[in-house]
């Protein structure tokens, strides 16, 4: 367990769901950290120094050690601070958690984002894949009572937590319906439980500001060349 002399910093951007994953993990483990807001549209020399390869947030700094990429950071956090473990102990269960996190990222997150930032045929194509992929996830959500991690929030809950808060904002901004609670009752119920968890609900960006941000951002991105995110 980390001693109080070890400094933990998170370099983030207020609206990024990737950054929140890292903060949720630290909060669930009771780890204190300093949050540093980064303007990703005007990248600081600190960010470029800490993550020269990808130049993205989140970045975790633990003492002098720098870790980037949200899923890599989650596993690092889980290995350093062993209380309230995020990943299961069993190798097969760990592989399953990693598999579903990757699936949700590629087939739900990226496609929903693509749908938000495109129009016409490309939007329809992306929406179709997002909804079909949610149908698959619904099957997994039906198997759980509380969280994918069991009684406690785990790795997969954190990975997919954006579904309960960012997705409804994107649906509103993009005039789309993806997570229909009638079609996906188990996923919707899980998402609600996740977002209502005391450690999560006090660590979410303000909804009104999110609507303004994503409205502006999606318009900017749809005006540039199509097909920039692979579906």
């Amino acid at each position: 367990m980390a001693s109080s002399s070890e400094k933990v910093k998170v370099l983030g951007f207020w609206v990024s769901p990737f950054v929140r994953r890292v903060e949720w993990a630290l909060k669930l483990k009771g780890v204190d950290y300093e949050y540093i807001e980064e303007d990703i549209f005007n990248k600081s020399s600190l960010l470029l120094k800490l993550n020269p390869v990808r130049q993205k947030v989140p970045v975790l700094v633990h003492d002098l050690k720098v870790v980037a990429e949200s899923y890599v950071i989650l596993e690092y956090i889980d290995e350093i601070w062993k209380q309230n473990s995020l990943l299961p102990l069993d190798p097969y269960q760990r592989a399953m958690a990693r598999f579903w996190a990757k699936f949700a990222e590629e087939k739900v997150f990226e496609t929903a984002w693509n749908a938000l930032c495109s129009g016409g045929e490309e939007k329809e194509k992306a929406l179709k894949i997002a909804i079909e992929s949610l149908e698959i996830l619904e099957g997994e959500a039906k198997k759980i009572q509380n969280f994918f991690g069991g009684d406690r929030i785990g790795y997969l809950d954190i990975a997919m937590g954006w579904i309960g808060y960012w997705l409804p904002v994107w649906e509103q901004v993009g005039c789309m319906s993806i997570l229909d609670p009638l079609k996906f009752p188990a996923t919707s119920a899980w998402a609600k439980r996740f977002i209502s968890h005391p450690l999560i609900k006090h660590n979410l960006p303000p909804r009104e500001e999110m609507l303004v941000y994503f409205d502006k951002r999606s318009k900017e991105l749809s005006s540039i060349s199509q097909g920039w995110i692979k579906v």
Partner: protein, 221 residues
């Protein structure tokens, strides 16, 4: 009870090769089942119903999919021999970061060359992007014998399998990786001195022929 390990794979696949190398490093006995990707077997469709892709590792009846997830699984199950990831959490994070970089950047940029429709602006841009990615990786390798330092590991496994496809860059894109990235070329040679790598990598000629057929089917050539 003896482990039953089956690998559903496809010879030229750089993703499948990763799993072959990992199993070989650990000395795991397994049954290799070559898959026909144009006529997918019931076993493949049953064990990977979501993506219907190889590689799939079936360990005592339980399927695991996605090559780097499989490699980590292998490392965790057969943990008493040839560790593929370092034991230090920070070194592990660095290994995961770079394997993730390889996964996100190398295939997509390389694929644009292997399926490019001919010499032109598009192909030149694809070649530039691919070399840029490889140069970043060369920078990370530095003067180390392997990405993992003194020992061959996770990042080496994630990248070395693409070397079977490098000659195809020359055949279809007029791009010599050997010329552009000499450090990486030396590293590939070093990795191939390991039996686990040399016996797992697909023959470069097989990959070229596979791509030739694929390009014809796609109407490129």
């Amino acid at each position: 009870m003896a482990d039953q390990v089956i690998l559903l794979d496809f010879g030229p696949s750089m993703f499948g090769m990763r799993v072959r190398i990992a199993l070989s490093e650990k000395g795991v006995q397994y049954e290799y089942k070559e898959q026909d990707l144009r006529n997918k077997s019931p076993l493949l469709l049953q064990t990977n119903p979501i993506h219907k892709k190889i590689p799939v590792l079936i360990h005592n009846g339980k399927p695991i999919c996605e090559s780097l997830i499989i490699v980590q699984y292998i490392d965790e199950v057969w943990h008493d021999k040839a560790p593929l990831l370092p034991s230090d959490p920070y070194q592990r994070a660095q290994a995961r970061f770079w394997a993730d970089y390889v996964n996100k950047k190398v295939y997509d940029t390389g694929n644009k060359i292997w399926t490019s429709k001919g010499k032109g602006e598009e192909q030149e841009a694809a070649k530039k992007d691919f070399i840029e990615v490889l140069k970043v990786l060369e920078g990370e390798l530095g003067d180390k014998p392997y990405f993992g330092g003194q020992s061959f590991g996770f990042v080496d496994i994630s990248l070395v399998t693409f070397s079977s496809w490098f000659p195809s860059c020359e055949t279809f894109g007029n791009l010599s990786i050997e010329k552009e990235c000499p450090k990486l070329t030396a590293w590939v040679k070093r990795c191939k001195e390991k039996e686990s790598v040399s016996k797992s990598l697909a023959d470069e000629k097989v990959v070229v022929e596979f791509l030739r057929t694929m390009r014809k089917n796609l109407g490129i050539d």
